[in-house]
Amino acid sequence: MSWVAGAFGFWGLAWWINLRIAASRQANTPAARLAVPVIFGVTLLVLWEGLVRGLNVPGVILPPPSAIAARIAVSGPILWADFMQTFVKGALSGYVIGCSAAFLTALAVDRFDFLRRGLLPVGSFIAALPIIGTAPILVMWFGFDWHSKAAVVVVMVFFPMLINTVEGLRSADSMSRDLMRTYAATPGQSLRKLRLPAAMPFVFNGLKIATTLSLIGAIVAEFFGSPTVGMGFRISTSVGQLALDMVWAEITVAAVAGSLFYGSIALIERAVTFWHPSQRAAN
């Protein structure tokens, strides 16, 4: 029980510290921006460790963070190979292809009203193609290696990106559009100079959501057939062996990679949409 009590005590303390940091003058410094989530995360880990130990949860249900850390420490090469296979080859290429395809489709949809009315409803169909249905088919079509994983990712990220871009391209206010009309700007010009910049906050919403989707997609697709390397392969195989520490080691890698991926997109967003009220004031 002392483990549990200790964990909750730590939680309270950490929360208090975070509140103090967030309210302090240094809240906007890089150090604080890093410290707060780290403290929060450490809290979660301590809580996890405490509960698992305190409540005697069997390691085959949920291993404690310490066991996971130990596993990560000894499995570097395996984790790295899996990461390269799944994230770099599968998720990243699928992300790039899927987001660009959706973006280009959105441009076409935005340009031709006919497509907007015809393609958009059909596009929302693609949104719901569940990975469980698409993955076996795409593995059959594109083989067991990362190509089929990239294809799954393409299908998964397409819709969020499409709908956000389409919505964004329509978000410019009417006066800004009128201005373009008075210049008799061509559709291409008004796209480049007005609608694209105005769409950026939405586009980045899509890009951010797609980061995590791409990772989930690439991993889960490996459940449906893969070479003997990859994060999804390792996870499903390890579950079969009840090697839950390995499962969570892979999940940890996925979480770290996903957060960094998301973070880098968010950084680009800050640079590109610096003018948007949501970025201008840290409100």
């Binding site: 069997p58 593995v139 449906f224 003997t228 079969g240 062996q241 009840l242």
Partner: protein, 307 residues
Amino acid sequence: ADELTLQLKWVTQAQFAGYYVAQDKGFYEEADLDVTIKPGGPDIAPTQVIAGGGADVVVEWMPAALAARERGLPLVNIAQPFERSGMMLTCLAESGVTGPEDFPGRTLGVWFFGNEYPFLSWMSQLDIPTEGGDDGVTVLKQGFNVDPLLQKQADCISTMTYNEYWQVIDAGITPEQLVLFNYSDLGVATLEDGLYVLESTLEEPGMTDALTRFVAASMKGWEYAAANPEEAAEIILENDATGAQTMDHQVRMMEEVGKLLSDSGALDPAAYETTVSSLLSGGSDPVISKDPGAGAWTHDITDAALN
């Protein structure tokens, strides 16, 4: 009545007919049992379910069960209705594979999720590396179906005698066009579809008695199912909530499963030893590192059930 929950290893199909028949025919009820049967699936590890308290008894393959045991989940085999393994490696003859000597350089489909050990120990016996290359084999983690063979993505794939093999046949490939490697014949087979419980369950008062009645009723179900494949298949169809199974396929599966069944349901210690030694030698990354010990199985239940 005593309540028991049984977690299957896979979806509702004739592979588990004995339990469904015992349920449907009232054998459990007669034994004063109230049994809940939970279908499994590709994403369900019965060992995990039993660890989480979601089931009292699980149908599991021995490699997975022993691996779990070594990781601290004390599973005990209380009965082994399947005395033979049904797993095979199935190759297209046109690929040119005629025997193990042709494997180097080939692509082979293997089931993982705890089912890869027979294959791995066979390969280590043959001294063929599984990391690809010219003198090794390229291993694919095979999905649920036989498409890799039909689409020629693999030269050989894993099949069960009672299921996937027939899917290949149904797809239009004739038996002559196939080359089969049956793990049982190769002597590397591991035991499949045994009944496992936690040690703590055996220690609960009255539980041994309930499990005894359960095993006895289940074996009665198996006997009935093997004798009446048509009726067993019908019962399976009734219990299949997906509505995807077909009568023909299930009747045939029942017939094939019948060939694998043991009469008593008692674990054959010799087969157990074969399995354990095969697992201990399993290539570079053995499934289990030490003998699981005597506690890994018991004849108490089956002995009692036979009386």
